[in-house]
């Protein structure tokens, strides 16, 4: 779990984040980049057992780039205007918080998790939906392959040059 990239920190506690799109992508688990719009299930699992005993509030908002929204400085009406989903504060005994949501358009979103009786711990995790993540891996691989071919070709030219100065050994 140490190297788990899908981990959220809420104050002193840890949660695990996973997104699923059963219709589009079957059992594949996503982290902060959900590949497509449409029906999505997000599950947050409490890693620390303390989280099972304290109320947790969850909010999904559109990422407007204005951080003040979720840091509580803005007034509630502004927050509500960008809120897409709100789960009021509640104790989750199983330690698992499932959220089902239908993302209608691609874009950047933020999840806000507030824990504790007074909402003393908060966590903010940005994620994207339906935004093609440019994966450079494949280009690196293709470039590597072409370089390998070129490298071998250069090497072969050297070998040929070595046998050309003819030593006519019977």
């Amino acid at each position: 779990m140490d190297s788990d990239v899908c981990k959220l920190r809420i104050g002193p506690f840890n949660m695990h984040f996973a997104g699923y799109q059963p219709k589009a992508n079957g059992n594949t688990e996503f982290c902060e980049d959900i590949p497509a719009t449409g029906n999505t299930i997000i599950v947050m699992d409490a890693i620390d057992s303390e989280l099972r005993n304290i109320p947790i509030e969850v909010r999904l908002i559109e990422d407007t780039g204005d951080k003040s929204l979720d840091e509580g400085t803005a007034d509630g009406s502004q927050l509500n205007s960008v809120t897409m989903l709100h789960l009021p504060s509640k104790i989750y005994e199983t330690g698992s918080i499932p959220i089902e949501f239908n993302f209608t358009h691609a874009g950047k979103y933020v999840g806000l998790v507030t824990a504790g009786d007074k909402g003393q711990y908060t966590s903010r995790f940005p994620f994207s939906v339906g935004i093609e993540k440019t994966s450079y891996g494949i280009y690196v691989l293709v470039a590597g392959v072409i370089l390998l071919g070129l490298g071998f070709y250069k090497y072969a030219g050297r070998a040929r040059g070595m046998s050309r100065p003819q030593g006519e050994q019977g």
């Binding site: 071998f152 070709y153 090497y155 072969a156 070998a159």
Partner: protein, 271 residues
Amino acid sequence: MNKNDALILQSAELSPQAAQWSRTFDYLIIVVGAFLVWSVTYISQLLLAGDWDFFIDWKDRQYWVLITPTVTIMMAAGFQAIFWKLFRLPIGATASLLLFLVGVWIVRYHSWYGMAYFPLSLVIPGTCLMSAIALDAILVLSRSWLITGMIGATLYGLLFYPSNWVAIAGYFQPVEHMGSMASVADMIGYIYPRSGTPEYIRIIERGTLRTFADHAIWVSAFFSGFVCVFSYYIFWFIGSFACNPKFVAVGTRFKSAFGGSGKPAAAGESA
């Protein structure tokens, strides 16, 4: 005939007439070579790794990915050594795997489908053909069996799985059957019964391979590449050894059967 061909004939000091005879000889050797490469590759692979090749429900992540390349590279290396050492022809591996693939499909049709009524989906073969082409190409470019063994053989093992996955991935979709999950491949193996081949006989992954973040196959592919290096070297040496044109002197009684002592062995130990 292009300029290079003419240069080769000139360097070989062959007259047009001799070149003509030699070309006839070439065609005959192509035929003999094709039959030989085909049959020797086939019998070697058949009884060392045949089961994994026969059935779709043997194509697992642990053994199929490891054993098939390790075995097919044997004859690929052996024939590569013969053709390269004697004639600088980098075609041994490709010829071996291409003819093997052609033969496999013939047998799948004539025998599994034609005689025992099995659907072809049960007996989809795997192939190391892409690996073999890469192996030959690297031999040309490196001019060295040492480098080919290091880079080419590793690549040979690594390429096997992805170059086959494109063909058979669909067989590993999940299906629910009698309340448990199975892959489509398992189902094909279950539905079309083989009385002599009970399920437990499959030599396949039975445990879990929770390594490399569940990328079990790539662990096998890497290991396969590693074993292929040794397999390649061993069979390169066997192929080289097989090219030894040695004659052992015969006794005088044997010679007398052909009219006395005869000429001294003409084609001696020159290579």
